[in-house]
Structure formats: structure tokens, C-alpha cells
């Protein structure tokens, strides 16, 4: 019996058992890892979504005040109502505020991104004089907090009679987007191969034509990414708009929100929540529509 298997076969057999055990061990580890991964991901997902759920459900309640709210209001119930929404839409010039905000944000995003595309392409592909110094300078400028700019801006813009105008806000908003967007676009374009534009130049396109026609479509993810980020800032800006805009017909959503919330947090908590939801929806849609660009758009070229 003992000699049923040769020594060689025994070794082989033992190895097979070992491999089997190892595979089992790895399978268990893998299952455990998967469970742990999902657990972590679910916890973070709940954490991420809860405040948004909370504000949506609050906006549908007719709670008088914050201290009158209870945990029972957090679940969908029969007392839900759209009265808060109708109040905002019919008692406040919500759509005028929305229009003002959209004019400012769309214009400044467009201008800011256009400028960033040309400068980003140039910084990546052309031999700009003192390029390294310019990049350092842009970086240092991004250290400066806006609080320092507000007062000089205020004087400068009042000298040019730009206070209480759209243009007076569009200019600083576009400028605010330019620095970071130029960086993003430059970095992304650095990672693109040069062969396409070289081929286009061989075919007779000018350098500028080649860069714009070939690289802009290729850089679409980062351009969308930069545009979404550029849109976000002005959309919710209060610090600058609050100082520059005093006539109610030019109020933006952020100023309107501040104005409404002055009275309504104590008076009607739900109105304030409904305002947040209404104001949040456009940005929310923008983010979800362009979700895939948010991952592919951010690139810091690797092999350098």
C-alpha cells in the first residue's frame, strides 16, 4: 500500500493539495475583501447622500421652524406639500434671479474657458518665452485669497462705473476661472501625442489651425471639466456679488437666497430648504450629465 504512489507522485500530489488550499484561502480573502469594500463604499454613500436627502425631504414639509422639526419628518409622510416651492416661485422673483445668475455664469464660463484654451495650448505646445516663470507666477497668484481683492476691485470697478452691471461681475468671474483652467488644459494637452498635429501641419494646416482643430476636440474631457468647475464658482458667489450688486433687479440667486433666508430660517424653515433644492438642481444636472468627464478630465501626466 505504501508504495502505491512513487515519491515523485507524492510530492506532486502534495503540491496539488497546497495549490488547492491556497486557492481556497485566496478565494476566502477575496470574498472578505469584497464584503469589506462594499461596506466601506456603502457607508460613504450614505454619508454623502444623507444631507441632500434631508434638505429635499425638509423642503416638502410644512414645518414652521427648525426647533419644531422632529425625526418623524425625515420619512415620507402624508403631510407632504409643495407649498414651499409655490411660495418661492410666486412670492419672490425667483426666475429673475435665476436669469441674472445664468447670464453671469454662462458668459463668464464661456469667456474664461476660451481664454484658458488658447493660453493652455500655448503653454503646452509653443515655446513661450519665460514659460517656467509664467507657470510659477500663475501658481503664486493662486495663493492670493479673494478677500484681498474685493476692495481694490470695488474701487477699480466703481471708477469704471461697472458696479451694478452684469459686466462688472462677468470680468472678475472670468478672470477667476482662467488660472486654474489654464493649468488643467495645459496638463492634459501635455499628455496628448504630438503626431496628429504634426500630420495636420504636413497636410498644410497652419500651426494655429493644427492646434485648434486637432487638439481642442482631443482635449474635450478637460475642457468640459474646466467649464463645469468655472461654472460652479460664480453660480454660488456671494462675497463679490454681495458687494457689487445693490439694485434688486440684478440680484443673483445667492443674494436672493441670503435675502430670503434672513427672514425665513426662523419663519419658515421649509421655504429655505425648497430654495436650496431649486438652486441646486441646475448644477446637479450639469454634474451628472458630464460625469464621465470628471474622471477623464483631470490628468496629471504621469511619466515625467
Amino acid at each position: 500500500m505504501e508504495n502505491k504512489y512513487s515519491k515523485k507522485e507524492k510530492v506532486q500530489r502534495r503540491e496539488e493539495v497546497d495549490v488547492f488550499r491556497m486557492n481556497n484561502y485566496y478565494k476566502n480573502i477575496r470574498t472578505l475583501k469584497k464584503i469589506a469594500s462594499h461596506l466601506v463604499l456603502i457607508l460613504f454613500a450614505l454619508f454623502a447622500v444623507f444631507p441632500i436627502y434631508y434638505v429635499v425631504i425638509t423642503s416638502l414639509n410644512s414645518i414652521g421652524s427648525l426647533s419644531a422639526s422632529s425625526l418623524a419628518d425625515l420619512l415620507p409622510n402624508t403631510k407632504m406639500t409643495l407649498v414651499n416651492y409655490s411660495q418661492i416661485i410666486f412670492q419672490h422673483p425667483f426666475f429673475i434671479w435665476l436669469r441674472n445668475t445664468l447670464i453671469l455664469t454662462v458668459a463668464s464660463t464661456f469667456i474664461g474657458v476660451m481664454l484658458s484654451i488658447t493660453s493652455g495650448l500655448a503653454m503646452s505646445r509653443l515655446n513661450v518665452p519665460a514659460k517656467r516663470m509664467l507657470l510659477y507666477m500663475l501658481l503664486i497668484l493662486s495663493l492670493f485669497p479673494f478677500t484681498m481683492m474685493v476692495i481694490p476691485f470695488y474701487f477699480m470697478f466703481s471708477n469704471f462705473h461697472l458696479l451694478n452691471t452684469y459686466l462688472g461681475l462677468i470680468i472678475p468671474y472670468s478672470a477667476g476661472a482662467v488660472i486654474y483652467s489654464t493649468y488643467l488644459i495645459k496638463n492634459y494637452v501635455d499628455g496628448l501625442p504630438t503626431s496628429y498635429e504634426e500630420a495636420a501641419q504636413m497636410d498644410g494646416l497652419s500651426k494655429a489651425g493644427a492646434l485648434f482643430r486637432i487638439l481642442v476636440p482631443m482635449a474635450r474631457p478637460v475642457i468640459v471639466f474646466a467649464a463645469v468647475l468655472a461654472f460652479m464658482g460664480p453660480y454660488t458667489d456671494y462675497a463679490l456679488a454681495g458687494q457689487f450688486i445693490s439694485s434688486p433687479s440684478l440680484y443673483t440667486l445667492a443674494i436672493g437666497m441670503y435675502y430670503v433666508s434672513q427672514g425665513s430660517i426662523t419663519m419658515n424653515y421649509g421655504t429655505y430648504a425648497a430654495f436650496s433644492v431649486l438652486m441646486g438642481i441646475p448644477i446637479f444636472i450639469l454634474f451628472f450629465v458630464f460625469q464621465k468627464y470628471l474622471v477623464s478630465g483631470f490628468s496629471l501626466s504621469m511619466y515625467k
Partner: protein, 302 residues
Amino acid sequence: MTERAMPIKNNNRRIDFKSLLWILPVLIVLAFLDFYPILEGIYFSLTDFNQFHFFNYGFVGFANYSYIFGSPELRTVIANTLVWSVGSTVVMVPAGFMLALIMNQKNLRGKYIYRSLYLFPWAFPAFLTILVWSNMLAYNGGVVNDLLGLVGISSIAWLTSPTYAMFSIIFVNFWLSFPYYTFVYTSAVQSIPNELYEAAEMDGYGSLRTLTRVTLPLLKRQVAFITIFGFIFTWNNFYVPFLLTGGGPGISTQILITYSYLEAFSYSNYALGAAYAIISILILLVFVIVTNHYTKMMSILY
């Protein structure tokens, strides 16, 4: 700009002055909307510009700075700024990295659903969600205290006690910013070619060894860059402390930028506000130079 391209090889190293035309609009914007206001701000910090000297302010040298360095608030505010920036960075950046790594696993189901859910805090304007959090953290009727009440923990003054206020603003900032870092790191992790992971797997590397021997070494500079810029962004992040606690109670959550804003706009002491902003910038500048010396992260930029 419309000139036909020179043969590409010869053109490579020569400095191209025409390219200045491409960045001219940006240079103009920088000159008028960055340099000019910054220089004016620096000048303001050397004057007695405040509500009493609104039209006839004059040069006072370094009086504002010597006043600030003599005031007991400066140390507290700088310490607060450090706690706030370091505290935020050390939780949000690793959390984003961890989530990106977890979601980057092969054969993980539902990763796109998770990613969409993580978009929520980022996709909702921070201006609004900070106010939502300030209601959720309210002492009376705030949902956080209500929920803690269910497990028998008595109400905590999250935003109004010096013990918890700093913790609370960092916590809310964590909620606001971890999605951004998750997305940025997802993008960085995905830029590593799959073959490297496959090779690591062939060599029998486990997850931890793959992380320390493949992922981290390849992403060293990216991690440094993202962390350092996360730190700088947090340092200058105005809205979270301003809207949640307004710097209070007392000055226990005042950071340099909110304190600068407070001096300038609540006390109408514009010169002092500008001086605080400049102190903040100088500290950041030293920080950037020192960290860049060690990590060489700026080489990503050119």
C-alpha cells in the same frame, strides 16, 4: 499666427515670441485683475485705510504689521488655520485615495452607482450645503443631535462650543471635499497601465504590496501635488468657517482668511484686513517653496 509652420524639428527649441499673442488676453487679465489689485492691496496694508480715513488715508509704514504681531489674536488665528488646514487635509486626501483604490478593483459590482452617489456633495453648491449642515448641527432640533438622542447621547453644541466647533467645521469640510479627491485620484489611479497591475499579480503581489510597490511609487508626485494643493485650497477656504461658525465662538474657529475678512468688512479696517491677507500669503509661499524642495511636485507643471 497664420504663418505656415516651419519644419517642426527646427522649431522645437527656439523661443517663439509670436506665442505671446496666444497668452496676451490672459496676461492682460492678470495685469488688471491680479497684479494691480494685489499691488494695491499691499499698498493698503501700509496705510491707515479704514472707515475714518476712507478718502484721505495715508502711508503709515509697517504700523499695521507691528500692531498685528503685537496682538494676542495672531497666534490663535495662525494656530487655528494650521489645525483647520492640516486636520482637513489628513482626512480628506487619504479618504479620497482609499475610495479610489477600492473602486478601482476589478470585478467590483456597482462601482458606477457608488461613484454617482459620491457626486452628491460635490454637485450641490457648497454655499447651500454648508447652510444645510449648519441646520443639521443645530443644538436645538438639529437632526444630528436628534439622531444621537436615539442612542442615548445627550445634545452637543456642535457649532457653539469651543471644544467641538473646530471639529465640526473640519467634519463638514470633509463631507464637502472627499468626493473631489475621490474623483481626482480615480483619474490618477486609472492612468496607470493595466499591464503593470497584471504583472504585479503574476508575481504574486497582494493588494498591500501592489499599493506600496506599484501604485504609490508611480503616483508619488501626483499624490504630493494633490495633497499640497488640497492644503492650500483649504487654507484659503473661506465659506466653511464663515457660514458655519462665523469664526466663533470667540475666535476659536477664526482662520487667517476669515479674520482678514472680519477686520476689513465687519470692523471696516481695510488696511488691517489687507495686512492679515498678506501675512497669510507669505506663510503659504514659504510652505510651497519648502514642500517643493522636498517633493519636486512642481515638476508636474512643466
